[in-house]
Amino acid sequence: MLELSMHILDIVQNSLVAGSTQVEIRIQEDLPKDLLVIEVKDNGRGISDAMLPRVTDPFVTSRTTRPVGLGLPLLKEATERCEGCLEVYSEENRGTRVVARFRLDHFDRAPLGDMGETMGILIAANPSVDFLYEHRVDAKIYLLETREMRQVLGSIRLDDPSVLDFVRQDIQMGLKKIGAATFPKIMEVLR
């Protein structure tokens, strides 16, 4: 996939198919360590111990036997292409945690993509799910929580088109403010 936000959308779809009511997306950019960590944590059905070691094998995938598509194999490949790795932790009936690590400034690290659009779509399409999106750049933090938004919005529903616009813009501006890395810095040659 050309953008990390597409991977995130895919992994969160897994969470939703697994019946999650809470999905937490955390992105951390650690500049001194040249590390980018994307974590998606849900409270869905989870993956059985027997299936867990095989979730990144694209050929055991069958949508009738488990709610995982090509999302995890492709994300694994994306991490390994830039000296990172993928970890999947899961407990049946408790939830799943996917942790993707990338070298932040590796040439082949995919650009972040439009997280505003991605979160806007996820929230608007699943207004009853509690989403949390946290993005850290070293000590700077951007945070969006739908639980908090619901309190402020009162009678306005999360699938109202104005909410989609708000989420999109709030994230786009918020990420700019904390200096989120949209793509790897390989520009030394251009300075």
Binding site: L2, F107, P111, T182, F183, P184, I186, M187, V189, L190
Partner: protein, 128 residues
């Protein structure tokens, strides 16, 4: 008499970026840049490290990537230009940096496979 713009067979051939763009209907995204460079060879890939490792000076690079780093790769490898395939739009800061570093960027609505085929027909090869 062979006319200057005559289309010939694959092989040792040279066409200017301008001729290719006109002939294949590409949109020129960068302004005020010369597109008179002659192109003999090309490379197609969306993996930046692969392009860095395997492209050669003067290549026209066909890719679906649109972010600023494509300009960095083109400068590092001295590529003649970048053709963005499948109708993708380059990011605004990509175009800004491309203008500054004099890397012409074109755009085509055709997918990579299709546009590379047409380039090959015009004599642009992937010879290394």
């Amino acid at each position: 008499m062979i006319k200057k713009t005559k289309i010939s067979q694959a092989g040792d051939n040279r066409m200017k970026l301008r001729d290719l763009a006109e002939h294949l209907g590409w949109e020129l995204k960068t302004r005020n840049l010369t597109i008179e460079a002659e192109v003999k060879t090309g490379y197609a890939s969306d993996l930046l490290s692969d392009v860095l490792a395997n492209s050669i000076e003067g290549d026209l690079w066909v890719t679906r990537q649109t972010h600023l780093n494509i300009v960095a790769i083109a400068v590092m490898r001295d590529l003649s230009g970048i053709l963005i395939a499948s109708g993708a739009e380059p990011d605004p800061d990509t175009l800004e940096k491309a203008a500054e570093k004099m890397v012409p960027i074109f755009r085509t609505t055709l997918p990579t496979f299709e546009v590379v085929g047409r380039l090959y027909q015009l004599g642009i090869t992937g010879k290394r």
